[in-house]
């Protein structure tokens, strides 16, 4: 029982942190272009380096 007093708030707190992170990312535009995000990892940044 004593363990629960610590563990349950931790579990809920972690969940809430996840929810807060999700709201933040939603507001931040992280979900505006889901398909594009999947493709961007394929782009080489090499070209950029040469341009600069």
């Amino acid at each position: 029982m004593n363990g629960l007093v610590i563990l349950i708030p931790i579990a809920l707190g972690l969940g809430l942190a996840g929810l807060a992170a999700f709201f933040w990312s939603l507001k931040n535009g992280q979900f505006d272009d889901p398909d594009g995000a999947a493709l961007r990892i394929l782009i080489d940044d090499e070209e950029d380096a040469q341009c600069d």
């Binding site: 029982m1 629960l4 349950i8 579990a11 809920l12 969940g15 809430l16 996840g18 929810l19 999700f22 709201f23 939603l26 979900f31 505006d32 272009d33 889901p34 398909d35 594009g36 493709l39 961007r40 394929l42 782009i43 080489d44 940044d45 070209e47 950029d48 341009c51 600069d52």
Partner: protein, 709 residues
């Protein structure tokens, strides 16, 4: 990245503009656009949104729209400028749904965590505490995430009607209330997890539905060009100024350059040109126009600048008449009832009476109000249409996504439902079966040198024929010749010097056949004639043949002359009605639909607008008039006509999956409802049944992922 360097170098404030670029297909396109566009001086930053197929440019305010579109063209992409988004209401709507979904999801998982301990044997004080904790999470969640359903249910009840949201709301509220009572009295079962899980699955369905509408809307607005919404008017002081269409008045004199559309009806008072009326009437051949010729808003000035005295503007133009006709025609379609709503019509009363019967039955059996109410709640929760709520949107969004990848934009879910029911297809000719733009016919008669000179000359001019010629030559990988001193004489053509010879591209010297669209390439005194015709779309024959095989009768409804139509009709082997006015196209459709036929209208022009709006389902190419794209249910990109077949096929398969999903949901109810009626449904069984059926329905919908298969 390197865009930042550009930004730093510029002092002036940047403005941002959105462009729809339908051809973004891969990671390569993203980097090509983002790195390529910023090499243009004036463009500071380019950001691709792959999902919405649009690009946001931050640029110098001095940079004009045509220059930016040109920058895209140089990279090989077609771009349409977009209106800055103003209708954000629906987008906000789906964000709200997403937030509610996230909250419900979070709550569901945490309550489940507690419930699992209860189910696996926690008893006494621990169980009570876990129930209280669940209540602590569930109550705010139901209050927040349940709002979309409560609001809609309340609206329906106030109108003395019932919809799917009424049993949902009653079920969730009753379950929460009963569970709270159970918790307070240390009862063994609390249904907090079921209530929240129900909300979560239903919110997923709602969210998918609204996301689909969002995507399609942004896709279609992406294609609406914001050009031709005004005219250069010559003021009393003789100076020209830009006047918006809404501010144009009869009596004003406007100058319309070659390649521009007329913004109002009027009479030419200066200049001679040819006018392309194809969007307004469907006529494929341009007409000569000179002083005293009447011109109509929406038609295209092909050759030379003219001055027009406006006789009617805004609400009084032929164009506005068409818009009114379209509005009236569209009203009939809004009466269409979507399949989910049809199901809800008898499902909701059935659920209510079932719960009531369970309640009354158990009271009569003498187990007491409390126990009977618990069983009634279990019936409501079990029958609540988790799977039913997901059955339609899940299938439709997967299918719409697949179609989108194949270049077809679907405006909303009901479009897919209606499209699956069509039994015949009516085509417009100009711009729909044909490309709607003049294509050079005999380029292979030119030598390589001649081609490259023609390209160099054509690139200088904005004349429609020149643009078509240069596009065709670029497709053949021709490089422009090195010419100098290029000058364009309005109405005549372009002249330049090439290796010491005079070269020109323009009207043939003898004007051999003034009825045909031709242009002459002259090198010194040697003249080559290039003729243009409006060609059939690629794969048009295959498309109509395949549609026929799928059991759809084809017919051509054209506003063009018989000679022009018969050539196309003959090639495709389908019947045609010619010389039709917009009203007559509409009447034909109405008559056929009154006979019980479901017609798919495929058209592009303003003259097709009313027919597109009235047809059971409608499709328009991306090159269609704005009115056409607005009226159509589906819009497809690219030159080929094949997307019509893909769309019909995908719609039929979607509807098949939807029906299967309904069958699955019903099967599930057949098993689950008796259990609930007998009072054997514990929260554990409810949770398994609900998530299981929802997952099956979603998995079934995912089978629609490829559009063309």
């Amino acid at each position: 990245m390197n865009a930042l360097a550009h930004t730093a170098g510029q002092g002036s404030a940047l403005v941002s503009d959105d462009f729809a670029v339908p051809d973004i297909r891969c990671a390569g396109c993203i980097s090509k656009l983002e790195n390529g566009l910023v090499r243009n001086s004036g463009i500071a930053n380019a950001r691709v949104n792959f999902t919405a197929k649009r690009v946001t440019l931050e640029h110098d305010p001095a940079l004009s729209l045509p220059d930016m579109v040109g920058a895209f063209l140089e990279l090989g992409f077609e771009a349409h400028p977009l209106e800055q988004e103003n209708g954000d209401a629906t987008r906000e709507d789906s964000k709200q749904l997403m937030r509610a979904m996230a909250v419900a999801g979070f709550a569901m998982m945490n309550i489940m965590l507690l419930s699992v301990s209860v189910w696996s044997g926690a008893g006494g004080v621990t169980r009570d505490m876990f129930h209280w904790l669940s209540a602590l999470i569930a109550l705010p969640t139901v209050a927040y995430a349940g709002q979309p359903f409560f609001r809609s249910a309340w609206r329906a009840l106030r109108m003395r009607r019932t919809n799917m949201d009424v049993p949902i709301s009653i079920g969730v509220l009753l379950a929460t209330g009963m569970s709270l009572y159970e918790t307070a009295t240390s009862g063994p079962h609390a249904y907090f997890d079921s209530a929240v899980m129900l909300l979560f699955f239903l919110l997923v369905g709602r969210y998918l539905d609204s996301m689909m509408r969002d995507r399609a809307r942004s896709g279609v607005t992406a294609l609406l060009k914001n050009m031709g919404t005004g005219a250069m008017v010559i003021g009393e002081d003789g100076r020209e100024r830009w006047v918006d269409t809404t501010a144009l008045e009869p009596g004003m004199v406007m100058t319309v350059a070659a390649g521009e559309r007329f913004a109002a009806d009027g009479e030419i008072i200066e200049g001679t040109t040819r006018i392309d009326k194809s969007l307004l009437t469907g006529e494929s051949e341009s007409e000569a126009a000179t002083c005293a010729t009447q011109v109509h808003a929406g038609t295209l000035n092909m050759e030379a600048p003219v001055r027009v005295r406006i006789s009617a503007a805004g609400e009084d133009t032929t164009l506005a008449d068409l818009a009114r006709l379209m509005g009236e025609a569209a009203q009939g379609k809004s009466r269409y009832v979507r399949i989910a709503d049809r199901a809800a019509r008898f499902y909701a009363p059935a659920v209510h009476s079932l719960a009531l019967i369970a309640f009354a039955g158990w009271i009569l059996a003498g187990i007491g109000v409390h126990q009977s109410l618990l069983i009634a709640v279990a019936v409501l929760i079990i029958t609540c249409p988790c799977a039913l709520g997901l059955a339609v949107p899940a299938a439709q969004i997967v299918s719409a996504g697949a179609l989108m990848r194949a270049g077809v934009l679907v405006k909303d879910g009901s479009a897919i439902e209606r499209l699956s029911e069509v039994d015949s297809v009516a085509f417009d000719k100009t711009g729909t079966l044909t490309l709607g733009r003049p294509e050079p016919q005999n380029l292979d008669q030119l030598s390589r040198d001649e081609k490259s000179i023609a390209l160099a000359l054509a690139s200088v001019s904005r004349h429609p024929l020149s643009q078509s010629l240069s596009a065709a030559l670029r497709r053949m990988d021709i490089l422009p010749a090195d010419i100098s001193n290029a000058t364009e004489t309005v109405g005549q053509g372009v002249t330049a010097m090439w290796r010491g010879k005079t070269v020109s591209l323009g009207r043939p010297a003898g004007d051999i056949a003034s009825d045909k669209l031709v242009t002459a390439l002259a090198i010194s005194s040697e003249e080559r004639i290039v003729s243009f015709t409006d060609d059939l779309r690629p794969e048009a024959e295959r498309t109509t043949a395949m549609l026929a095989k799928m059991g759809l009768d084809g017919i051509i409804l054209s506003g063009d002359r018989p000679q022009a139509v018969s050539r196309v009709a003959g090639k495709l082997g389908i019947t045609a009605l010619v010389n039709l006015l917009p009203q007559e196209k509409l009447d034909f459709l109405k008559k056929q639909q009154a006979l019980g036929r479901h017609i798919l209208m495929v058209g592009d022009g303003l003259n097709d607008g009313p027919a597109l709006a009235a047809a059971h389902a409608s499709m328009a190419p991306a090159t269609a008039s704005d009115a056409g794209k607005n009226a159509a249910d589906l819009v497809w990109m690219g030159d080929s006509l094949m997307p019509v077949v893909h769309a019909v096929r995908a719609a039929r398969r979607t509807q098949q999956i939807v029906r299967q999903n309904f069958a699955l949901a019903i099967c599930y109810n057949i098993v689950a409802v008796p259990l609930a009626l007998l009072g054997m449904v514990t929260p554990l069984i409810a949770a398994i049944a609900m998530s299981g059926s929802s997952l099956i329905v979603v998995a079934n919908a995912l089978r629609l992922r490829s559009a063309t298969a």
